[in-house]
Subunit: 184 residues, 2 copies
Amino acid sequence: MTNSGSTVRDRLQQAAVELFLKNGFDDTTAAQIADRAGVTERTFFRHFRDKREVLFDGQAVLADALTKSIADAPPGTEPLDLLFRAFGSVTQLIEANRPFSKPRQDVISATPALQERELSKLAALTDILAAALRERGVPAAQATMAAHVGMAAFADATLSWLENEEPGLADRLDQAEKALRSLF
Amino acid sequence: MTNSGSTVRDRLQQAAVELFLKNGFDDTTAAQIADRAGVTERTFFRHFRDKREVLFDGQAVLADALTKSIADAPPGTEPLDLLFRAFGSVTQLIEANRPFSKPRQDVISATPALQERELSKLAALTDILAAALRERGVPAAQATMAAHVGMAAFADATLSWLENEEPGLADRLDQAEKALRSLF
DNA sequence: ATAGTTGTGTCAGTGACTGACATAGGTGTG
DNA sequence: CACACCTATGTCAGTCACTGACACAACTAT
């Protein structure tokens, strides 16, 4: 135990990203990751339910920030405004995370199996947003639609910003919102 | 070969659904499926790239129908109308498929790993729709948003219709479209 | 007829993941 | 302080998804 200042979990995630970047996800074994983190393969699977999951861990913070922002918005705010307000409130948080999320996204983009897992995480986040909207009295059907729409815009903006840092995330979100509203 | 009138592929799919329903996805091995279909495990993996894929095979027909409908719509049709027109044009096709898709969906709903794959297929279909819209001159950003929005409505309507046959799919699509438009 | 082509079987191997059991260190309670 | 407990890890054996290599049989085209 207490192998160093960092936790086992952190070291595993770090090792995983490094190895995935160097050798690719498919050519990296769980045992190699564990090795580099100074633990055994068994310990790897105690921390992450499968090999993909080691790359997906930040969702909780983001989900909390978004739900809080939705809950705290002024009464009478329209569903879509609730969402884009919430997205706006986490742009700095996301932009500050670029050093971690950029390499991570590079690995994901290169690996279909990881893209699948990412879709699943986005779907979970969509459900959380829909629930937050319902919490504010938005009817269920509307809440579902709004959450889907909003996540599509948010994910799109974030992905394109990860590819290219300029323009910033907030600008890209505005872009996406405009494209969306122009449909109606 | 020519073990019977049906193709190996069909028999594998049939066997898979039966076993998944009876024992669950996780407690069914690829070898068991192959056995029941009268072939070896190796042959199973020649037909399907992995164990999940045996449940996902009808997408091409649907995608074709949808893209054709979009391409053939009268000029000047709005993006969202293009989509809902297209969805409307495949409701019968989907409703006719219920005997196959219902048990299939039951298995998927019970299995997270399969839900992940389903999301991935829906994402692929979304991309196809977006491309079809772009083909008609819809600007890229708008096309992406519209396709996401539309697929959300379509998937939602279809899922809820699979749970409960009445009201019909067309009605549910109208419902979803209304919920969507009421957001703006 | 003969040469490809396609679909399958066989076999051996890798690697993701799991269950069972042991152990070490840390934490609390008497 | 001794003891019981809990948590994180290691070890080991096993299952199963999936793959590559090779062989063979039937069908197709020339």
